[in-house]
């Protein structure tokens, strides 16, 4: 009986683990191996040691892509979380047609980000300048996507438009865990409005806040579809995200080895940020 159980578990685990190793671990190792070569994606290649990594840190284009990606992730995370909390408070208050509103506000999340990107591309290129022209806002008369200093804002808006939907739903489920009598007790002590939110509501939904932070930062750091649909990294490489650069130069630009090194560094960055975030939020949660 006991043996049957043990054998069954092993027979389940081994093949599935093998599948995982085959299509996750091995490619990961191959990626690391390629990062020490000058492989172009085809033909012969040589070992170059740490050459790619040294070049990586002096490569202006790579540096620029890290700056852009981090700027996008930080700003979009803040924007998304502020809007989501406000929206969740609104959607959690006693209003009519609550179910309809929740469903409608979640809609952007289920749409494919590539298509959403194309739609907003048109909006930024034709609609927004025409509107600005009508109202007379000089700064928006030309498409923001064609300006190296403003294109990232367009990308940020599109990323936020979709991410708000997801984060709001998570905040709503957080708000639903706050018992009604907490507010009643707080009300007696004079906690209303901002005070109530700051000292009662927010501390109680911190676990949901940390889920949203992790979700946001991770998704925005890996941004790809929106770049593909909106700017293709332009203008003047001002919106090249790390993923997009690795895809573009690694897959078709003959930099397979060099971009593998970039990907390895990117992987390490993701791990450090994720671990730091988890450490930080778990220490915050313990304090409560």
């Amino acid at each position: 009986m006991k043996n049957d159980r043990k054998r069954t578990f092993l027979l389940i685990t081994i093949p599935i683990l093998a599948l995982f190793v085959c299509f996750n671990t091995i490619p990961l190792i191959r990626g690391v191996v390629y990062s020490f070569t000058n492989f172009r994606g085809f033909g012969k290649f040589d070992w170059v040691g740490l050459r790619n990594y040294i070049d990586l840190f002096s490569d202006a284009r790579v540096g620029k892509s890290y700056l852009f990606t981090i700027k996008l992730a930080v700003v979009a995370t803040i924007v998304v979380n502020v809007i989501s909390i406000i929206l969740a408070l609104g959607l959690n208050s006693r209003i009519r047609a609550k179910g309809f509103f929740r469903g409608a506000y979640f809609l952007p999340n289920i749409l494919g980000s590539l298509i959403v990107g194309y739609i907003f591309n048109y909006f930024f290129t034709y609609i927004l300048p025409a509107l600005a022209d009508m109202v007379g806002i000089e700064a928006l008369r030309s498409s923001i996507l064609s300006s190296p200093s403003k294109a990232w804002i367009g990308v940020m808006i599109v990323c936020a438009w979709q991410a708000v939907a997801m984060n709001t739903i998570i905040y709503i489920s957080g708000l639903q865990t706050v018992p009604e009598d907490v507010y009643e007790a707080g009300g007696l002590d004079g906690a209303t409005g901002w005070k109530q939110f700051r000292h009662l509501t927010f501390p109680l939904i911190i676990p949901f806040f940390s889920i949203n932070m992790v979700l946001c930062v991770k998704n925005f750091l890996m941004v790809f579809d929106q770049i593909m649909a909106l700017t293709k990294g332009g203008p003047a490489q001002s919106t090249e995200s790390i993923s997009y650069l690795i895809y573009n130069n690694g897959m078709s630009g003959g930099q397979f080895g060099f971009q593998s090194a970039n990907a390895v560094v990117f992987f390490i960055v993701i791990v450090i940020i994720s671990v730091a975030q988890m450490k930080f939020t778990s220490s915050k949660e313990e304090q409560l």
């Binding site: 091995i26 490619p27 895809y247 990117f266 992987f267």
Partner: protein, 281 residues
Amino acid sequence: MKHTSTVGKTNRLVLVLLILGLSTIAFPLYLTSVIAFKQPSEMTNSISGILSLPKTWSLDNFREAMEVTNFWRSLGNSLLISVLTVGLSILVHSLMGYALGRNKAHSKFYNFVYLFIVSGMFVPFAILMMPLAKQTAELHLANWAGVIILYVVFYMPMNIMLYSGYLVNIPMALEEAAKVDGASTWTTYWKVIFPVMTPMHATVAVITALAVWNDVMTPLIIMAGSGENTLPLAQLNFQSQFGTNYNLAFASYLLSLIPILIFYLVCQKQILNGVTNGAVK
């Protein structure tokens, strides 16, 4: 009752704000729909020319877009990949979640395997894509079958975590009762545990389906040479053929959004529940 009247007032204000906020979601969809139905000649340069309702509600753009992008073929591929991935994920990931979840507390080996697979969540696709493009080509898997295998591997960390987390709440007594009746572990799993995990199957199905349906990167990297498209990939690959005919392009975008919109309208409740469970658990 002064208290209740102020509550009523603020809520009416909230309602108005929520309706206004909804325009940020409705506007892009409105824009897409009206442009998709218009003829290029109706698209004057003024804003009213773009945003006004089309003169006739003709389906010509859609017909042409279907032809240009081989719509039914791409839709078929998307459906095939999504349905098979979801089905396989539920079977494979629940089994693995069961094996690991039941053993990781008292076995170092299973605990290691669990942590090993779950830490796969941190691996960005960017580091895997170049080696995987090579590897799938070597294995003759640069096609929809390869894409499905990769999805089953990519979503494994997340789904296994969900399943083994859910198992904690399923008492061992349930399995032991079946064992007394002489059933093997394998039969017990399918007859007792698998059905009990139905709520988790729904969650896994929803989050996996949404992620797979909208994914661009994996099919882009893996299926590029196969001449086949998924729905999002078709939009990307035919972008140049749309040229400046935005009416055709938007008809195509709208077509590719319709299946998921219908799915959302029909299963909105399950989707909202599934997504929340997946994120919060």
